[in-house]
């Protein structure tokens, strides 16, 4: 029997309408996704595990494997958490379940969400649906590739320096990194706590806005969260009249931005003007040169502290040893892969006596400058725009042995993450047959403006999210 729906094209909103009109049953809808998974996930490896039975009779969803799911193994892509089965749900998992969404499975991620390609996953990389010889981006490459390949209508990711936005750009779909503090991290495997945020990935801006409305808001279990100052508005308007879009020179002319990426973004900004937006240049003088260095001091420092808890004593894998110290040190050496070790070492170094002020302390001050220059730019403009990723999806293996080249993949997503600002990536064209992402950055809690602009551009662009090889 042919599948009842084409999951490659079905949006979450359309799926909800089919369920509402009883044109499809929840079980048939899930079955359609499992058929797609059986057909395409052997090649793509988006899922670390699927959940054949799950509560909920609403639209199905996939969750990145850093999000704790009660009774379902959660590894964060690491061997050190192999076999770890959470005894509670993360708040975001509980919220999607309370909204009736049913879990399809847990998606692949770079180990502890550290990476830009999923090649750091201890369970093998995911592949890009547009070209399986290329990476899907990372760390949330599993969630992003699953949405593009029709293996889930929507998914949740986590973003510390670009792990939602960059994979969405490379896979040709829509990803939101929300305002720091708008979504609870309770029950999410922590990487760098002053940066980590949870956010949605979907095929359309409206789906992203809908999923954001389900997960956002104050959670007493995460003291950094706040109630949203205004309710989420599902975007409808096709006009950008009155909207001021700032184009930061440094983020649009940075070394390493591919010509095809630059052209697609420039054409989209011209389109924004045709839709009524006022587009003007602005400057974030220190964000590109110092953003990446600042991030690669702060994030590893916080990671070295957050990852201190993995000792093989209370949960997770444990190595053999004749003393407590030996068990802990060997568990950590055998359990962590190369990238977490590199960051633990870098972070521990940056925090150690004699170096703290020169590295971590200095980076915290640079962060203040980056926040201030974003604030100034956002006083003149409603949104800022630039490419999400300097390049389209790169070949597997190309950067795997060069940490600094891999870190540079997040050059353009990192500055606004340091500033705690929301960012939306939407597909805005192709370069060499691969998707290009446009990044829109708003003020704190400016998600509704991002949704409005993203939706209007999406309608005008008419980007086809289905990879050419499957049309």
């Amino acid at each position: 029997m042919a599948p009842v729906v084409d999951t490659l094209r079905l949006t979450a909103e359309q799926a909800a309408a089919l369920l509402e009109r009883r044109e499809i049953s929840p079980a048939e809808l899930r079955e359609a996704y499992f058929e797609a998974i059986a057909e395409r996930d052997g090649e793509l490896h988006c899922y670390l595990r699927t959940t054949e039975t799950a509560e909920g009779d609403g639209v199905p969803i996939a969750l990145k494997d850093v999000i704790s799911t009660k009774g379902v193994e959660t590894t964060a892509g690491s061997r050190i958490l192999a076999g770890y089965v959470p005894v509670f749900d993360a708040t975001v998992a509980a919220r999607v379940k309370a909204a009736g969404l049913s879990l399809l499975g847990k998606t692949n991620t770079d180990e502890f969400a550290m990476g830009s390609s999923t090649e750091n996953s201890a369970y093998g990389p995911s592949r890009n649906p547009w070209d399986p010889t290329r990476v899907p981006g990372g760390s949330g490459g599993g969630s992003a590739a699953a949405v593009t390949a029709g293996l889930a209508p929507w998914a949740l990711g986590s973003d510390t320096g670009g792990s939602i936005k960059q994979p969405s750009a490379l896979c040709g779909n829509v990803g939101l990194r929300p305002t720091y503090g708008s979504v609870s991290r309770y029950g999410v495997v922590a990487f760098a706590s002053s940066l980590d945020q949870i956010g949605p990935v979907a095929k359309t801006v409206r789906d992203v806005a809908l999923l954001y409305s389900i997960i956002a808001g104050r959670d007493p279990l995460d003291s950094t969260t706040a109630e949203l100052p205004e309710p989420v508005r599902l975007p409808e308007d096709d006009s950008l009249a009155g909207l001021r879009i700032g184009v930061p020179t440094e983020l649009n002319e940075a070394e390493g931005i591919e010509p095809g990426v630059r052209d697609a973004v420039r054409r989209t900004l011209e389109l924004a003007e045709e839709l009524g937006a006022e587009v003007g240049e602005c400057s974030l003088p220190r964000s590109v040169r110092y953003g990446l260095p600042c991030y690669y001091l702060i994030a590893p420092a916080e990671a070295s502290s957050n990852l201190a808890r993995y000792d093989g004593i209370r949960y997770g894998a444990r190595a053999e040893g004749s003393s407590y110290q030996e068990v802990v040190e060997r568990t950590r050496d055998e359990g962590f892969g190369d990238e977490p070790k590199r960051r633990i070492m870098l972070g521990t170094y940056a925090l150690s006596a004699g170096y703290y002020d020169a590295y971590y302390g200095q980076a915290q001050k640079v962060r203040t400058l980056i926040i201030e220059e974003h604030r100034e730019a956002l006083e003149r403009f409603d949104l800022l725009a630039c490419p999400t990723s300097p390049t389209v999806a790169f070949p597997l293996g190309e950067r795997a042995d060069d940490p600094l080249a891999m870190y540079a993949a997040d050059l353009l997503t990192i500055p606004s993450c340091l500033a705690g600002l929301p960012g939306l990536s939407i597909p805005c064209g192709l370069s060499d047959g691969l998707p290009v992402g446009l990044q829109l950055i708003g003020p704190q809690f400016g998600e509704n403006t991002l949704f409005r602009a993203g939706h209007a551009l999406e309608q005008a662009l008419g980007f086809d999210t289905v990879p050419e090889r499957w049309r």
Partner: protein, 95 residues
């Protein structure tokens, strides 16, 4: 500033990582490259600039002190590699 093999061994001890000989060798080079790249933050004169530890500037978020039921003991121990009764079992502190 170059990173020496002794620096790597010292930091590995602080981080509770029993690195292999190959890892010590590789990390000595990699950390030196990364520290050189991120060290450009030192170029900026940041006298008088306050540090940011949190992008929304929250301080002391207080909640009411209300007791809630704790995790049941069997859940606490469910993922333990080794336990006895209500305790995590580990080898002796030092042999």
């Amino acid at each position: 500033m170059p990173i020496s093999r002794d620096d790597v061994l010292h930091v590995a001890r602080l981080a509770r990582l029993a690195l292999t000989e190959d890892e010590v060798e590789r990390l000595t080079h990699e950390l030196a490259d990364i520290v050189e790249a991120v060290g450009i933050v030192a170029e900026l004169d940041l006298e008088g600039v306050p540090p940011t530890s949190h992008p929304r500037g929250l301080v002391n978020v207080m909640d009411d002190d209300e007791p809630r039921p704790p995790l049941p003991l069997e859940d606490v121990l469910a993922n333990a590699p080794d336990h006895e009764g209500n305790l995590f079992r580990v080898p002796a502190w030092r042999q």
